[in-house]
C-alpha cells in the first residue's frame, strides 16, 4: 500500500543510499539459497526488458535470473525463492507457483524459501499496492522458462541431439524420438553450466497447457504449519540470550519524554533493566517515536514493569489535536473552493443552471489497521553488524532504514522476513524493527520488541480522516450535467515531510480525479488539510472514502430521480470507452495507461455480472434492502451487491454479499476469493465500527473493546465471489485491496433501500437505532 508516484523520493531521503547499493552489486556473493544446490550459481546479471507494467520502474526494478530464484538439488528437489512478504494474500505460494508452472516442475517436489531483504539481488520487494502478481506474473514466468531452457539444453547436450527435440515435462526432460528421459536432479549440475538465455528469446508456455495457473487447486504452502502451530511469525522468533522489551511511547505524536522514574518497574519480578529509547522529531517517516523501554526475561514481566513506570511527557505541538473540532474544520473547508485538480467543462456554471442539485457530504474518520499480530521485531546487533527478524512488508526498505538508523553500511544488515500476521499497510513501516535494532545495540544482546494491542491502536500510522463533498447538478430529464467533488484529508506525505497540505498525486488518483462517469462538466478540488498524527497507507487507502462518497452519491441521485440504483449507475458510467481525465501528472497506480486504461466497458461488465449473479432486483422481505456499488482501484474493477436486514430496533444484519471482480489474468482464483471474502468483512468492520478519535492529541481507543472489528456472529451469512475470465491479453491487476472500497457504499445504499435512512457519516454506530 505504498505507492507514492516516485517511491524513491519517500523511501530514502539520501540518494547516496541507492548509489552505495548499486556499487556494491559487483561484490555481492552468496545467494539466499544455501546447501547442496547446483543451479544456484553466484553470478548476477540483469537483463533490461520492457514490461507492460510499471514493475521495472519500481526502486530496484525486476531481476530475472533463474540462478537467483531457483535451485535444483541432485535429488530433484526444486527450491524457489519467495521474495515478497506473506501477509495472508497467498503471494508466498502464488509467485513460486508461477515459476514452477513455467519450468515444468512438479509442485509436490518444490520447496519455497523466503528471501531476505536485498533489492539489488531480488528486485523490488515492497509488498504493497496490490502489485505482486501484477508486477511479477511475467518476470516469474520468464525465470521459470529460463530454468526450463537451461535444463533442456543440458539434456540435449548429454544426448547429442538438438535442443529443439527435447522438452521438459513434469520434472523431467524427455527426448520422445528415442524415449529417453532425465530427471531435473540428474541434469542440475550440467544445467548450472549453461548460460542464462536472453529474455527476448524465451519461449513461454501456451496458457492452455497450464497445470497450476488459473486453476485454484493448490493450497498455500504454509497451510499445514498454520494449522499445527508451527508457522513462524515475527513474534515467534527466539534467539539464545534474547531479552524481551516493551516500550512506553509518547502519548501524543511528536511528544517528548521529560522524566521517568524506573524504581517501581525494576522491582517487578523478571524485569532486568529500564532504558530510554531514542525518538526522532515529527514528522520522521518511519523512525521510532522514542520513549522508555522495559527489558525483562519474558514479555509478561516487561508489560507489568511498564505499567509500573512513572512517566512525564511534553506533548508538543500536536497536543491540541481534537477529532470533533478537526472534523468541523474539514467540513468547512469542503464548502469552499480549493485547489482544482481536475477540470472539464464548467462545473460552476452548469451547477448554477441545473434543474436540481443533489449534495452529499461524507465523513470517514481515522482507522487503525489492527492486524491480528501487533507489530513485533527481533534484532541482534553486534558491533557494526545487525540481523533483524521481523514481519515487514518492505524488507528492502527496512534494511536501508536499519542501516541508516544505526549508522552502519547496508551490506552489514540482514533482514529476515517472517510470516506476517496481517499487514494491511501497517507493516510497510518498519519503526518497530528500528526500535529493536536500537535497543539491541545498546544492550549488546538480542532483543524482541513486542507491541501490545494498546500500543498498536495508539501509535499506528492511521488511515487519514476525510470529508468528501459532492454536488451533482441534474437537468430536467434527470441527467447529471455537473459534478463537483471536493476532497479534504491530510496527506500521507505529511508523515515524510513537514508542511504537506495537499494530497499527493497518488492519493488524488485513488477515486477522485480518475472518477469514470460520463459527465460534461467536472470539477475535482482538494482544499488544504494539515496532519496532527502519523498518517499512512491502510488497505486500499484513499479509495475507501472516495468510493464511499461517489457510490453513495449514485444512490442519492437514483433516489432523487426515482430510478433504479443499478440503472442510474450504468447511465453515469455511460458508453463503453477509455476515460482520459484532463489531469496533469495523472497517477495510475504506477502503471502505464496504454496497458491499464480506465476502461468503462470493464467497469460496466462487473456491474452487469454482479447484477445477474447476485440477482439484482430480487424480491426481499420487509426490512431488507439491496445496495450496489462499483469501483476501479489498483487497476482492477470490482462491483458489490449487499443485502441488509434492519429490524425494528435498528439492528443490522447482512444476509448476503455478492462481488464480481475483474483483475485481468490471474494465478490463483481460490486466493482471490479469500481476499474478497475478507474484504467484505473488513468493509463491514469499518462501516459499522471503524473510528479512531483524538482528544488533547491522544488516541482515545486502546483495544478491541473500543476499537471494534467484526466478529463471526455479525459477519455476512454468505459472500459469493465471481471472477471475470480474463481476455487472452488482459494483464494482471490487483486483488488484495480492491475488494474493500465498494463495500461501505453498497452497504449504505442497501440500508437506504431498507429504511429510507441515508448514512453519510461513518461509522454507522448507533445511527439506525435513533
Amino acid at each position: 500500500m505504498n505507492f507514492i508516484d516516485n517511491p524513491e523520493k519517500l523511501r530514502g531521503f539520501e540518494k547516496n543510499v541507492r548509489v552505495e547499493k548499486v556499487s556494491r552489486r559487483s561484490i555481492l556473493k552468496g545467494l539466499g539459497i544455501t546447501g547442496g544446490f547446483v543451479l544456484a550459481a553466484p553470478v548476477m546479471s540483469r537483463q533490461a526488458f520492457a514490461y507492460e507494467t510499471g514493475a521495472d520502474k519500481m526502486p530496484h526494478g525486476v531481476v530475472v535470473d533463474p540462478r537467483v530464484f531457483v535451485a535444483v538439488a541432485p535429488d530433484g528437489t526444486v527450491t524457489i525463492l519467495a521474495h515478497r512478504a506473506e501477509m495472508g494474500t497467498g503471494v508466498r505460494t502464488s509467485l513460486p507457483l508461477i515459476v514452477a508452472e513455467e519450468m515444468e516442475a512438479d509442485w509436490s517436489r518444490v520447496k519455497v524459501q523466503q528471501a531476505h531483504g536485498d533489492e539489488v539481488k531480488f528486485g523490488n520487494q515492497d509488498t504493497d499496492g496490490s502489485r505482486s502478481t501484477r508486477h511479477y506474473l511475467i518476470p516469474m514466468r520468464q525465470i521459470g522458462a529460463s530454468a526450463r531452457t537451461m535444463l533442456e539444453q543440458a539434456a540435449a547436450k548429454r544426448w547429442g541431439v538438438p535442443a529443439t527435440e527435447v522438452k521438459a515435462v513434469n520434472h523431467e526432460v524427455v527426448h520422445s524420438a528415442t524415449s529417453r528421459k532425465l530427471g531435473f536432479g540428474e541434469l542440475a549440475a550440467d544445467a548450472a553450466k549453461e548460460s542464462v538465455p536472453s529474455i527476448e528469446g524465451l519461449k513461454l508456455k501456451d496458457p492452455k497447457d497450464f497445470r497450476y495457473l488459473g486453476k485454484g487447486q493448490i493450497s498455500i504452502v504454509d497451510l499445514h504449519d498454520i494449522t499445527t502451530g508451527k508457522a513462524r511469525y515475527g513474534a515467534d522468533v527466539r534467539l539464545p540470550g534474547m531479552k524481551y522489551a516493551v516500550i512506553a511511547r509518547p502519548p501524543v505524536t511528536g511528544g517528548k519524554l521529560v522524566s521517568f522514574d524506573p524504581d517501581a518497574a525494576l522491582k517487578v519480578p523478571g524485569v532486568e533493566k529500564v532504558m530510554q529509547v531514542r525518538g526522532w522529531p515529527w514528522p520522521s517517516k518511519f523512525q521510532p517515536l522514542g520513549g522508555v523501554a522495559v527489558i525483562a526475561r519474558n514479555t509478561g514481566a516487561a508489560i507489568k514493569g511498564r505499567d509500573a513506570l512513572k512517566l512525564t511527557w511534553d506533548d508538543g505541538a500536536n497536543g491540541k489535536y481534537d477529532s470533533v473540532a478537526y472534523r468541523k474544520e474539514l467540513e468547512e473547508a469542503s464548502r469552499k473552493p480549493g485547489l482544482v485538480v481536475r477540470q472539464e467543462g464548467d462545473a460552476d456554471a452548469a451547477l448554477k443552471g441545473a434543474d436540481k442539485i443533489v449534495v452529499g457530504e461524507y465523513y470517514l474518520p481515522h482507522l487503525a489497521h489492527v492486524s491480528m499480530e501487533p507489530p513485533v521485531a527481533v534484532a541482534d546487533v553486534k558491533g557494526d553488524k545487525a540481523e533483524i527478524w521481523a514481519p515487514v512488508q518492505s524488507p528492502g526498505g527496512t534494511r536501508e532504514d536499519v542501516a541508516k538508523t544505526l549508522g552502519i553500511p547496508e551490506g552489514n544488515v540482514t533482514v529476515n522476513v517472517t510470516l506476517l500476521g496481517g499487514g494491511f499497510g501497517r507493516k510497510s513501516k518498519c519503526d518497530f524493527a528500528l526500535e529493536a535494532a536500537l535497543l539491541s545495540k545498546e544492550l549488546g544482546a538480542p532483543v524482541k520488541v513486542q507491541w501490545t494491542r494498546e500500543d498498536d491502536v495508539r501509535h499506528d500510522f492511521l488511515h487519514t480522516v476525510s470529508v468528501e463533498r459532492i454536488e451533482a447538478g441534474l437537468d430536467k430529464s434527470g441527467k447529471v450535467i455537473a459534478w463537483r467533488h471536493r476532497s479534504v484529508a491530510p496527506s500521507i506525505a505529511s508523515t515524510f515531510a513537514a508542511g504537506a497540505k495537499h494530497e499527493a498525486p497518488f492519493e488524488l488518483g485513488m477515486g477522485l480525479v480518475d472518477m469514470p462517469f460520463e459527465i460534461a462538466n467536472i470539477s475535482c478540488e482538494n482544499p488544504e488539510a494539515a496532519a496532527f498524527t502519523r498518517i499512512g497507507w491502510f488497505r486500499s487507502v484513499s479509495n475507501i472514502p472516495r468510493a464511499f462518497a461517489v457510490q453513495s452519491m449514485v444512490g442519492e441521485i437514483a433516489h432523487a430521480t426515482g430510478r433504479d440504483q443499478k440503472e442510474t449507475l450504468l447511465a453515469l458510467i455511460g458508453t463503453p470507452r477509455i476515460v482520459k481525465p484532463a489531469v496533469k501528472d495523472m497517477w495510475n497506480y504506477g502503471e502505464p495507461f496504454d496497458s491499464y486504461p480506465i476502461d468503462t466497458a470493464r467497469l460496466r461488465k462487473v456491474v452487469e455480472l454482479v447484477a445477474e449473479k447476485g440477482e439484482w432486483g430480487r424480491q426481499v422481505p420487509k426490512g431488507h434492502g439491496l445496495g450496489i456499488a462499483v469501483h476501479r482501484s489498483f487497476v482492477s474493477y470490482i462491483a458489490t451487491i449487499v443485502e441488509v436486514a434492519v429490524d425494528d430496533k435498528g439492528k443490522l444484519t447482512v444476509p448476503r454479499v455478492d462481488t464480481a471482480i475483474d483483475c485481468g489474468t490471474y494465478v490463483n482464483p481460490e486466493r482471490i476469493a479469500s481476499q474478497i471474502e475478507g474484504a467484505a468483512i473488513m468493509g463491514l468492520s469499518l462501516a459499522k465500527y471503524g473510528e479512531i478519535t483524538f482528544k488533547d492529541g491522544k488516541v482515545q481507543q486502546k483495544n478491541f473493546d473500543d476499537f471494534q472489528v467484526l466478529r463471526m456472529d455479525e459477519s455476512p451469512l454468505v459472500t459469493n465471489v465471481y471472477i471475470v475470465p480474463p481476455g487472452p491479453d488482459t494483464p494482471p491487476s490487483g486483488a488484495g485491496e480492491p475488494g474493500v472500497p465498494p463495500f461501505a457504499p453498497a452497504l449504505m445504499n442497501a440500508i437506504f433501500a431498507a429504511t429510507g435512512k441515508r448514512i453519510r457519516n461513518l461509522p454507522l454506530g448507533k445511527q439506525l437505532e435513533a
Partner: protein, 150 residues
C-alpha cells in the same frame, strides 16, 4: 514452585505466580503456537484448552492452572490430524493464519462439548475469536465439516 502439565509434559515455574499463562507458554516454555493478539480476553488468539475447556491464556495466570492439564495447538494431535485441523485444511481457511491456532482450539473445545453444533451455535461459540483477515465464512464451514466427519 508451580507445576503444570502442558501437552502431557510436566513443567514447573518458580517465578512470578501472576505471570499470564500466555507468556509462560510462549517465552518460558517455547511453545509459540499460542498467539498474543490483545492481552485482554477480547480476541481469542491465545486460546488453549485447560482440562476440557477453552481458556484465554492471556488473562489466566500460571497460578490459576497449577496442577491442571493444558493443551496447546502443538499438542492437539500428534500429527496435526485432529478433525478440526483436517477440516481447516480441506476448506483452506487461513489467510495470514495468525488467529488460526486460537480458532482451532476454540472449535476443538466446542466439539468436545457439543459434537453436532447448529449454525447458530457455531457462530455464537466462535464469536470470541477475531479474524482480522475475515475468514469467518470458511471457519464456520470448517467447524461444520469437522462435526460431520472429515
Amino acid at each position: 514452585m508451580i507445576k503444570v502439565k502442558i501437552n502431557g509434559q510436566e513443567q514447573s515455574w518458580d517465578g512470578d505466580p501472576d505471570l499470564p499463562l500466555l507468556w509462560f507458554l510462549r517465552d518460558e516454555a517455547g511453545l509459540t503456537g499460542t498467539k498474543f493478539g490483545c492481552g485482554q480476553a477480547l480476541c481469542g488468539a491465545c486460546t488453549v484448552i485447560v482440562d476440557k475447556e477453552a481458556v484465554r491464556a492471556c488473562i489466566t495466570s500460571i497460578n490459576d492452572v497449577a496442577g491442571r492439564e493444558i493443551t496447546t495447538i502443538e499438542g492437539l494431535h500428534p500429527n496435526g490430524d485432529h478433525p478440526v485441523q483436517k477440516a481447516w485444511r480441506q476448506v483452506n481457511v487461513p489467510q495470514c493464519g495468525f488467529c488460526q491456532a486460537g480458532q482451532i482450539m476454540q472449535a476443538a473445545a466446542l466439539l468436545m462439548d457439543n459434537p453436532k453444533p447448529s449454525h447458530d451455535q457455531i457462530r455464537e461459540a466462535m464469536s470470541g475469536n477475531i479474524c482480522r483477515c475475515g475468514c469467518y465464512q470458511r471457519i464456520e464451514n470448517a467447524v461444520h465439516l469437522a462435526s460431520t466427519g472429515v
